[in-house]
């Protein structure tokens, strides 16, 4: 059987002010009917550019050469008009962020029916009826009424369903999915992956699934192409690549994926470093006129949460977006003032302190942020950034002492000290996160709150940062409050886990207990939704 799509010697180059950059280098693969081919790679591996060149969507400074054969038609030789026909009718695409592909000012019904009216010459009424059927097919409840809503009235997962419905409207032969679940919560992700699987069976189409997540690969793929710096380093069946990887790069990538088997619990001391009692925080959606406020709608972001953290322990706070885990962190470090409840750091109660009284305590409690680049001031160089806590809390230090301390902190987080004059935009994401960690460590705190510190990093960098955090925790006898949505990371990092949903704390317990015997239904559904849970992977790095 001849393949549906055959890519031969594909090269993609970009003209940039710094010269020509090669994004995809001599790529070959086939996609067959009824098959899901996953392209896996870290950022910058060229996986998305491959998809864009198939669809002729490269940005203006990009050029592709080689051949992309589809029905004996070389897609690279088509002009824009011919390509449009192929794009609409033969190849569907789903992007990472569905909101960018839906027009926010048009009703969903208009956007969906438009496709059918233009390409199938349906009448307006038929198109609408068919659109409703499609929405039902992608499991959108109450499709008949909701089809007249605007895209922002749907949740993230539902928007992704809309996109799937739209891209499947003309029953294409090929569906290209570019990281379709990366922006979604794990339970929604599982539903979308199931939907893609069902749709594929129903239409018997070929799916090209681009992802960075080996869990997703294990869940959905038949065959896998592993890409690294523009080249395919390994191609094979999913069992072979995941369980017996041949290429050293694939092996190192898979080794970096945290296992879902929780690591052994450590014995921790009984000294409480942090105790939170009945903490609540709500946000009002406000109307304001001349500063006089009327609260209209109240959202309980954190609702009556009590946790405790022992010295030397890592407590994970796990939950999906909107669970209030970040709000909790911001209340603990007093970026937000909580409404009620008590926070004890050691013996000191924090909620009653004002800004000035809180200041000296901030040397003991520090925070690491989610977005490494955004958490560094772009106008300050690395030394100025790392030295800021010192200048704030120890204004009498000489410049020489400060530099010495900055350099030792940089050594500790694995940054070369001669990078001291560089600026954040000259660093990679992993390096920026190291700078953020150095800044948090420099006052030698007792407790560090990590707000999704690795969720925006590639899997191999993620492993390095997690190892670094653990090493530092041991050396400096730190306690960590580790906020994450990724249960794989939580399993490897945390001693105990607290599960949150809609601002409520559902259960707390030793990681191994929560993973093996979850008490709450929501915890169960979270655990069962983790992609690739059937893929038994041995932990290759443990803390």
């Amino acid at each position: 059987m001849s393949p549906l799509l055959s890519i031969k010697n594909l090269n993609v180059n970009f003209d940039t002010p710094d010269g020509e950059v090669n994004a995809v280098n001599n790529l070959n693969f086939d996609l067959h009917k009824g098959e899901t081919l996953a392209i896996v790679g870290e950022s910058g591996s060229g996986k998305s550019q491959t998809a864009f060149s198939i669809l002729g969507l490269l940005s203006k400074n990009g050029r592709s050469s080689g051949s992309i054969l589809f029905n004996n038609l070389n897609l690279l030789s088509l002009n824009e008009k011919e390509m449009n026909q192929v794009r609409a009718q033969k190849i569907g695409i789903i992007f990472q962020d569905p909101m960018t592909s839906l027009n926010p000012y048009l009703r969903v019904s208009d956007q969906l029916a438009e496709v059918l009216v233009v390409h199938k010459n349906n009448s307006r009424n038929d198109a609408l009826n068919e659109s409703i059927k499609m929405l039902e097919a992608v499991n959108i409840p109450n499709a008949k009424n909701r089809i007249h809503m605007f895209p922002h009235e749907f949740s993230g997962g539902q928007r992704q369903r809309l996109m799937i419905a739209m891209s499947l409207a003309l029953s294409p032969k090929i569906l290209i999915a570019d990281e379709p679940t990366t922006a979604l919560d794990v339970t929604t992700e599982a539903q979308i992956l199931n939907l893609v699987k069902d749709m594929q069976k129903q239409y018997n189409s070929g799916v090209l699934f681009i992802t960075h997540d080996f869990g997703v690969v294990a869940e959905i793929a038949d065959r896998v192409v592993v890409m690294h710096e523009g080249s395919a380093v390994e191609t094979g069946s999913v069992e072979q690549v995941l369980n017996k990887p041949k290429h050293p790069y694939t092996r190192s990538l898979i080794a970096a994926v945290p296992s879902l088997n929780p690591r052994k619990a450590r014995s921790t001391s009984k000294e409480k470093i942090l105790e939170v009692k009945n903490l609540s925080k709500s946000f009002g959606v406000q109307n304001s006129f001349f500063g006089f406020r009327k609260v209209n709608l109240v959202v309980n972001a954190v609702n009556n949460v009590s946790i405790e953290l022992f010295s030397g322990e890592t407590l994970g706070i796990v939950g999906e977006s909107g669970s209030g885990k970040s709000t909790l962190a911001r209340c603990l470090i007093k970026l937000l003032n909580s409404d009620s409840g008590k926070i004890f750091l050691g013996d000191v109660e924090l909620t009653s302190l004002n800004r000035n009284e809180m200041r000296p305590l901030r040397t003991k409690i520090q925070m690491i942020f989610q977005d490494p680049l955004a958490s560094l001031n772009p106008r300050l160089n690395i030394e100025q950034t790392i030295a800021e806590p010192l200048k704030t809390h120890f204004p009498n230090l000489s410049n020489n002492d400060i530099r010495e301390k900055v350099i030792s902190a940089m050594n500790r987080v694995g940054l070369k000290p001669n990078l001291i004059n560089r600026y954040p935009h000259e660093f990679s994401g992993g390096q920026c996160q190291r700078v953020g960690i150095a800044r948090a460590l420099i006052t030698e705190p007792k407790l560090i709150i990590c707000d999704e510190p690795v969720s925006s990093l590639d899997v191999s960098i993620q492993a390095q940062i997690l190892e670094l955090l653990d090493e530092i925790r041991k050396q400096m006898k730190l306690s960590l409050l580790f906020i994450t949505h990724d249960l794989r990371v939580a399993a490897q990092v945390c001693d105990r886990i607290a599960v949150m949903q809609y601002g409520n704390l559902l259960e707390t317990g030793k990681t191994i207990d929560v993973f093996k015997n979850p008490k709450h239904d929501y915890t169960k559904s979270l655990l069962s939704a983790v992609p690739g849970k059937k893929w038994k992977k041995e932990s290759s790095y443990a803390f």
Partner: protein
Amino acid sequence: MFLKNNKNNSLFNNINNLDYIEGRSLFDDARRRFLLNKAAMISLLLLTLIVLFSFIGPFFSQWTNEEIDWNALGNIATLGKPSISTGHFFGTDELGRDLYSRVLQGSQISLMVGFVGALIAVVVGTIYGTIAGYFGGKVDSIMMRIVDVLMSIPYMFVLIILMVIFERSVILLFIGIGLISWLDMARIVRGQTLSLKNKEFIEASIAIGVKNYIIIVKHIVPNLLGIVAVYATLLIPGMIITESFISFLGLGVQEPLTSWGALISEGARTMQYGTLWQLLFPLSFFIVSLFCFYFIGDGLRDALDPKDR
């Protein structure tokens, strides 16, 4: 604003003699892009020449701006023509005064009005806007309502009344222009501050315990400088035009002082008597300078925010 941060160099570099890798700050990048922008660089050169000329030029003039050439007075159209031999390089005005000296004097005043207005806008607008944006809540509401109220006053009308009640003077003109120039700037800066203050690096500084005024000075203002600089360069020509308009109406600067607007107004009145140079010389200075300011502003915008093009 393109001054490099010299702090690092002043630090003692004697800690185990490392080969420090030079960093490339965002301003370094911007300066490089600006220097590559031909239109902006030519404009900067031209403008520098105009500014220098307006201050050095008087040393070469043979007439002061107050002297009246009694020879030319009766017959300006022929004897008051631009000529090297009479010493009137740009000719004379209707009263027989040397136009070369008058244009230079006018250039000084007009440029000063522009720069002073922009300076007030930058200083007051930035401080006001950052405070309103950073502290938010009631502070923000009250401060911005004040701006709204000031903005809704028809300032041109008020300025003209002020000019009529008090004596017409340059100082009053500066005050009038200064009072209105910072309002837009304050709004722009406030908006930028609002989006900046929710960035994670500001949160990080608060978590560290940095004091508010240091956060404003060290983290917010440097990140605003780009947009402030761009807006200020585009504000200068606006100020010059406002002043010229008031002077054109005959209300701005008063004799013996003059400005581009006043000179253009006088020149335009005598256009049909064959003394066209009286209009063309001040007008060409006016137009070339405005063009330069706009090109520099565009260049700065492209250099400071390459994504916004």
